[in-house]
């Protein structure tokens, strides 16, 4: 009876799921079971998080490039002094200028888009820096855009005055 009980629960739960989607029926072969978890996970991931959904979709398509690109998440943008962060998808921008324009619209009230923008003047009095995979803080703009997208884990916007550090750090 003890061994029968959990089995019954699992099968009953799955059967309940199948009853909801009446179009599907259980089959003897194992091959048809593969699409089912994919669609099921897709439904779950849609409700929980977009990144997971994209990764599962990539796996379903069996395209390695899609899988790699779908794993890259949007990066967090932190403005020094603000407690609420923003998120930005770097792969949706094609250049530093595009990023500068987006950041300006995020953080500068009444920003006019006709300016000749780059990272140095996107947000007046501030530097656009990023943290890489080794958690080092570096000024954005030295790398090519494509490589910047690959290595930037977080974008940090600092006041220019804040770039000076009183206490020296030992490396």
């Amino acid at each position: 009876m003890n061994s029968f009980e959990p089995q019954s629960q699992d099968s009953l739960q799955r059967r309940f799921h199948q009853d909801n989607s009446t179009t599907q029926q259980p089959r003897d072969t194992t091959t048809p079971f593969i699409p089912k978890p994919a669609s099921k996970n897709h439904n779950n991931s849609n409700s929980s998080s977009g990144a997971a959904g994209r990764s599962f979709q990539g796996f379903g398509l069996n395209v390695e490039d899609d899988l790699v690109s779908s794993v890259v998440p949007p990066v967090t943008v932190v403005l020094e002094g603000r407690s609420i962060c923003q998120r930005i998808s770097l792969d949706k921008h094609g250049s530093y200028q595009s990023l500068a324009s987006a950041l300006r619209q995020m953080f500068v009230d009444g920003a006019d888009s006709t300016d000749d923008l780059d990272l140095s003047n996107a947000i007046p009095g501030h530097l656009i820096a990023y943290e890489d995979m080794e958690n080092d803080l570096l000024l954005a703009g030295d790398l090519t855009w494509k490589d910047f997208v690959r290595v930037a884990k977080r974008i940090r916007i600092l006041p220019v005055k804040g770039n000076t550090r009183q206490v020296k750090r030992n490396e």
């Binding site: 099968s11 739960q13 997971a52 899988l67 790699v68 794993v71 030295d142 490589d147 030992n170």
Partner: protein
């Protein structure tokens, strides 16, 4: 260094696994679910439902295997990405530069230069505004000196070895003040 990248995909995988475990725990603890089998079972006393239940149990096993496969792929992909990044750094010659007293570092491509003097010019453009008289690296009267970390992790004075040897071993650059350089790192 290597640990900085895996945590993210592991977090993704962990959240997915945690969700699954959570679901199982809920199904196990709910008393209403416990009463449902008793309610449903009398309605279907036939032998066929019992057989279909056995098949569904097999399906559950397949689900577990599929999920494991997905997790493995995600982890592998992330590892691959990290290796690619490291290869990029060595291949194209970008190294990080930090200056003592500054929070934000820079990146320079040492392969873009043919000598110490052109590198000094670029570093002057990047960091020169931090001092009234500029950096004046490699000059006798300068208060700054350039040190680099080589492939063995040792910090050395830039300029001591020929340029070609320097660009092959440099991993990181640091602009420090002369009096600080005497102190051990």
């Amino acid at each position: 260094m290597y640990c900085s990248d895996p945590p993210h995909p592991l977090h993704l995988v962990a959240s997915d696994k945690q969700q699954k475990d959570h679901k199982l725990i809920l199904s196990w603890k709910k008393p209403t679910m416990d009463s449902d089998p008793l309610g449903v079972f009398p309605n279907s006393p036939k032998y066929h439902p019992y057989y279909s239940q056995t098949t569904e149990f097999g399906g559950v096993i397949d689900l577990g295997l599929s999920l494991r496969t997905i997790q493995h792929e995600i982890y592998h992909s992330s590892g691959q990405r990290y290796c690619s990044n490291e290869g990029y750094r060595r291949k194209w010659g970008y190294v990080k530069v930090t200056m003592d007293g500054l929070v934000v570092g820079r990146k320079v491509c040492v392969l873009d230069h043919g000598s110490y003097s052109t590198l000094a010019h670029q570093l002057e453009d990047m960091f020169g505004m931090q001092s009234v008289s500029g950096l004046r690296l490699f000059q006798m009267e300068s208060e700054f000196c350039l040190v680099y970390r080589d492939e063995e992790g040792l910090w050395r004075n830039a300029g001591d070895v020929p340029w070609n040897e320097f660009i092959e071993s440099v991993e990181r650059l640091r602009i420090t003040r002369r009096n600080d350089a005497v102190l051990p790192f």
